[in-house]
């Protein structure tokens, strides 16, 4: 027989154990040997997500909706697995700015707006109230069920008993006491509650083990494992239908998954344990898979217990939400039933304590303090130690939050299932998601947008979820739901603007998110962010880039005394703690604060951040401003300074640019000058070379003319020889002058080209005729190999002939003395006309093959005794061939000697001839 007092005793003993763990955890933290600095404790503390909703409610939901309990766990799993980066960024931002709550986060992002912080706090408090009610309901029902052991009797409705004798009320007071003990023993600048985290981690283990114990008992104790259990269930049509009936559609799963994805980030208690209490950012990596694993394990036995309950109580007289407790009771498992109760208590306590602490911090920092400061901050500042006031505000807030929860439970929650109550809370906190996530990635998001979005979303949440829940409990006429307010059908809260066909929750989420996101985006686009907003936006969005010098978000211009700052800090966090942190700060920077009178901007910012941890960013700014003697740099001034700085930067940037351009220009000029000098040298060389080439034949002509004139006695043969030399040298001189003029004209582009389509065959024939006497005068064998058909080319006929004549004369000049042989090849090569002139002379050394096409550059091979040309023939030939779009080069002839070849593009008129040609060839 379990008497009421023994259950109470067990419960108190368990809560005292939790408190002992918390106390020990705090002691260890003070000693610098943190109990919680590992990813496993961290993960277990995040498991505060699993409340009595999970412990009792999941089974209840499964008993009526099959797999419907599941999406609430899929959402967080997805967030942790896929959005680890998002969590890391939030944690990073919070650490950099000493953010202590989700209200602080959103207010800080949008320019440290006190209004926004208050709004978020209000939404959070109103939104979480049903959730706390849910816990109170679970604990009180489970207590009232257990107290009748071994009879399974559903307890009477609370509202029928007086408040002071209502179990739920007593539970609320008890929990408030413990939350106060856990969370508000002292003001911590960093708002870390290591002891509390340790206790939460412990209760996460207890609830898990308790739930597994029940599950194992049902599955393996009452039945022979899962197979037996499900087989038995299948025989009962009502249970089998749970998983096959079309009533349980999966249509609202996306809503539930999205909702819980947002909730795991936006629930104040999750923000508290995941972000604020995080001691090491790396822990999130392990938690990313450990936490989903915890969720998986705790959900394994939900269905078996639900089925076990349904089989045990087929008539439906027992609330499915109590199966975890009532199934062991029905089998007289006293110890197990008690363990189940403790597990449920554990789940509820954890949630209530963390939520109460988180909400009380928000109420104190973002609601009460800003109001107090605004109303009478000077009077407040004159008070000595404010840490006592802060603690009182927080303690009062905790009591208030729990009483609100109790009120909701007593007046509304009685009739609804646990899960339904919880989802209302989820929908409320999900309203934070757009402002929060948007604020981390969109710099353009503004305060107005956030306020508009949150207000609209919250208003629609109230209208489509909260008010209908009041109506269903009889606090509003039910006609409000059925016919709309004042009978306006279009405004029915479950079918707003005629939108029907969705479940109530999806419907509410649809409208509230449209209002929220729409207001957020439109408001942001339509308003211009203030200066401080812009700074904060940049700090939040670019957080990893800016953790260094620009990490502080305040701009102070000195002029606060160290003593004033010390006194200010001492008022909020106590003089002992103040001494400790300031000494630490001084040590870190090698300062002696004792001697320092004026605090520099860095110290003022440091104090502001410290205070932000205790009283929130917005209030901290006001407080520090009060001792900084109004010397906060006005934000316009900051922007001006930034503007001037950026102008200077821009100016110096331009200077740099200009100087780079100058340098570049100098380089270009130098290069151009070098090039000019080089050209000048080349021109000098050219003139000198031309002079040499002209003087050489002139020397012979003058010498022999004088010899002939001075020596009339010369014998006729010698006379004849000298005269021949004079004539030849005169011809050479003439040729040379012509070629120089030609080349000059070509290079200057003043050559008069007579471009026509030419049959190359006739040009080759004429060139052979022109060189006929030259060839005939030597013993050279001339061979001609021409394709039967040569493509026409577009060229100047005389110039093309000049090239061929040049090459033939060269070949004749350089071929073998005794058995000279010159071959002329003509054909096609790669769609071009090809003409090659081959000799069997010594050839051109590889190193000279480029240079011989330059002016006055003859191969200096073993050719000393060879007759000299003008040194311009090949240079002119190259100019001509290249003018026709062709290419000229020299290579080794197949046997020995040189092969001078050139190709020319064929003329376009050939295209018409080609088919005929091809058919000819084919034949």
């Amino acid at each position: 027989m379990l008497a009421g007092w023994s259950i109470l005793l067990f419960s108190l003993a368990y809560l005292c154990l939790l408190f002992a763990i918390a106390y020990y955890g705090d002691k260890r933290a003070d000693a610098g040997r943190s109990l919680i600095a590992n990813p496993y404790i961290y993960t277990l503390s995040i498991a505060v997500y699993c409340t009595s909703w999970t412990f009792y409610g999941s089974v209840g939901r499964a008993a009526s909706g099959g797999m419907d309990f599941l999406p609430i766990y899929l959402g967080p799993t997805l967030t942790f697995v896929l959005w680890g980066f998002l969590l890391r960024k939030i944690i990073h931002i919070c650490k950099a700015h000493r953010i202590t709550s989700i209200a602080d986060f959103i207010s800080s992002r949008y320019g440290k707006s006190a209004l926004l912080g208050g709004l978020v706090t209000m939404i959070a408090v109103l939104g979480i109230t049903p959730y706390i009610a849910l816990q109170l309901k679970a604990v009180s029902i489970s207590f009232n069920v257990l107290v009748n052991y071994p009879e399974v009797v559903m307890p009477p409705i609370s509202s029928q008993v007086p408040v002071l004798r209502d179990t739920a009320f007593l539970v609320a007071l008890l929990m408030a006491t413990f939350a106060i003990l856990f969370g508000t023993r002292h003001i911590d600048a960093s708002e870390h509650h290591e002891g509390m985290v340790a206790a939460i981690a412990f209760e996460s283990i207890v609830k898990l083990v308790a739930f597994l114990a029940i599950g194992i008992y049902v599955t393996f104790g009452l039945y022979d494992g899962f197979g037996d259990l499900f087989a038995t269930a299948a025989l009962t049509p009502r249970i089998g239908n749970l998983f096959t009936s079309s009533e349980n559609s999966y249509g609202h799963w996306p809503t539930l998954i999205l909702l819980s994805m947002a909730a795991i980030i936006c629930l104040p208690r999750q923000f508290q344990v995941t972000v604020v209490e995080n001691v090491n950012e790396d822990h999130i990596r392990k938690a990313a898979w450990l936490f989903p694993l915890y969720l998986l394990i705790i959900n394994i036995f939900v269905l078996p217990i639900a089925i076990g309950g349904l089989l045990q109580f087929p008539d439906g007289g027992v609330d499915a939400d109590t199966f975890v407790l009532t199934v062991p009771m029905a089998h007289r498992m006293e110890g197990l039933a008690l363990f189940a109760f403790i597990g449920g208590l554990s789940a509820a306590t954890g949630m209530v304590i963390v939520a109460a602490i988180a909400l009380s911090t928000m109420i104190c920092n973002d609601l009460v303090m800003p109001v107090l400061l605004r109303l009478n901050w000077r009077g407040l500042a004159e008070r000595g130690d404010l840490s006592g006031l802060l603690l009182s505000i927080r303690r009062g807030s905790i009591v208030l939050v729990l009483l609100l929860g109790y009120a909701y439970f007593r007046f509304i929650g009685e009739s609804a299932a646990l899960v339904t109550i919880g989802l209302i809370s989820f929908a409320a906190v999900a309203q934070f998601a757009p402002a929060m996530i948007g604020g981390m990635y969109w710099k353009g998001a503004t305060r107005l947008g956030a306020i508009l979005g949150l207000s609209l979303g919250f208003a629609l949440w109230v209208y489509t979820l909260l008010l209908p829940s009041l109506a269903q409990s009889g606090w509003l006429p039910i006609g409000f739901i059925e016919n709309g307010p004042f009978g306006i059908e279009l405004l029915r809260p479950y079918a707003l603007f005629g939108l029907s066909g969705l479940d109530n929750l999806s419907h509410a989420m649809f409208w509230s998110m449209i209002g929220n996101i729409g207001g957020y985006v439109l408001g942001s686009l339509m308003s211009r962010p203030g200066a401080i907003e812009r700074i904060q936006a940049a700090l939040f969005v670019d957080v990893p880039k800016r953790s260094g010098a620009f990490g502080s978000s305040s701009f102070w211009r000195g002029s606060a005394t160290v003593a004033d700052l010390r006194a200010l800090l001492a008022r909020f966090i106590g003089s002992h703690e103040t001494d400790r942190v300031l000494n630490e700060y001084a040590r870190g920077r090698g300062l002696n604060l004792g001697r320092l009178r004026e605090a520099d901007a860095a110290l003022v910012s440091f104090v502001e951040r410290l205070l932000a941890g205790a009283i929130g960013a917005a209030s901290s700014r006001v407080m520090v401003a009060s001792v900084a003697k109004g010397e906060v740099v006005g934000i316009e001034e900051v922007m001006k300074i930034l503007d001037e700085t950026s102008q200077v930067i821009e100016y110096s940037h331009q200077l740099e640019q200009k100087s780079r351009e100058l340098e570049l220009t100098t380089q270009e000029l130098r290069a151009a000058n070098d090039r000019l000098k080089e050209l000048d040298r080349l021109k000098d060389d050219f003139i000198s070379t031309v002079s040499h080439e002209l003087r050489t034949p002139l020397t012979s002509i003058r010498s022999f003319s004088e010899i002939l004139s001075d020596n009339p006695d010369l014998d006729p043969a010698e006379r004849e020889r000298f005269l021949t030399i004079v004539v030849k040298e005169t011809e050479r001189l003439t040729r040379l002058i012509n070629e120089i003029l030609d080349l000059a004209k070509m290079e200057a582009g003043r050559m008069d080209w007579q471009m026509i389509d030419i049959d190359p065959r006739s040009v080759i024939d004429d060139a052979l005729a022109a060189t006929g006497s030259l060839v005939a005068s030597s013993s050279i064998v001339l061979k001609l190999e021409m394709d039967p058909w040569l493509p026409q080319v577009h060229a100047d006929r005389d110039r093309l002939m000049q090239v061929i004549v040049n090459l033939i004369s060269n070949a004749v000049k350089f071929c073998d003395h005794e058995r000279g042989e010159v071959s002329i090849l003509a054909g096609q090569l790669g769609g071009r006309l090809y003409i090659g002139v081959l000799d069997n002379g010594p050839g051109v050394p590889a190193g000279d093959r480029q240079i011989i096409f330059e002016k006055f550059q003859e191969s200096r091979g073993p050719l000393v005794d060879k007759p000299r040309g003008t040194g311009l023939g090949l240079a002119i030939s190259r100019q001509i061939v290249e003018y026709f779009g062709g290419r000229i080069w020299v290579e080794d002839a197949p046997d020995r000697g040189a092969a001078f070849c050139f190709t020319l593009p064929v003329s376009r008129t050939n295209a018409a001839d080609r088919p005929a040609l091809q058919s000819q060839e084919a034949l």
């Binding site: 080439e693 003087r695 010498s703 004088e706 010899i707 000393v864």
Partner: protein
């Protein structure tokens, strides 16, 4: 024994005319078509005067001049440089290297004979 003149020149027609002129003036004429040959010939049969063209294949006239002046055995050898490049720069360079005279092409046949005779002085025997 008549005095020897080495004509160093790669242009056949100019070699022809110089050798005709020098022979007519009573000198023995040796001919080299390039710088290397010129040095080899000096080693086997040293000349009294060298008519040295500047623009020679491979080793040019300046180098040949420097080499002749570097050898003490050839201290008394006279050198007249011939060039078709009429630049003062070349003229100065030739004289600095130790050439005795410098003649620009095209030259007057009377003038060049006079210069050779002047450098070698009246015939002793």
């Amino acid at each position: 024994m008549s005095r020897k003149i080495l004509v160093v020149e790669d242009e056949p027609n100019i070699v022809d005319s110089l050798s005709f002129l020098m022979k007519r003036a009573g000198f023995e004429v040796l001919i080299a078509r390039d710088g290397d040959t010129a040095i080899r010939m000096m080693q086997s049969r040293p000349a009294d005067l060298v008519l040295l063209d500047v623009m020679l294949p491979r080793r040019d006239g300046f180098e040949v001049c420097r080499e002749i002046r570097a050898n003490p055995d050839w201290k008394s050898v006279r050198i007249i440089m011939l060039t078709a490049r009429g630049r003062d720069l070349d003229r100065r360079k030739g004289l600095q290297l130790g050439a005795d005279d410098y003649v620009t092409k095209p030259f007057s046949t009377h003038d060049i004979i006079a210069r050779v005779q002047k450098l070698l002085g009246p015939e002793d025997g």
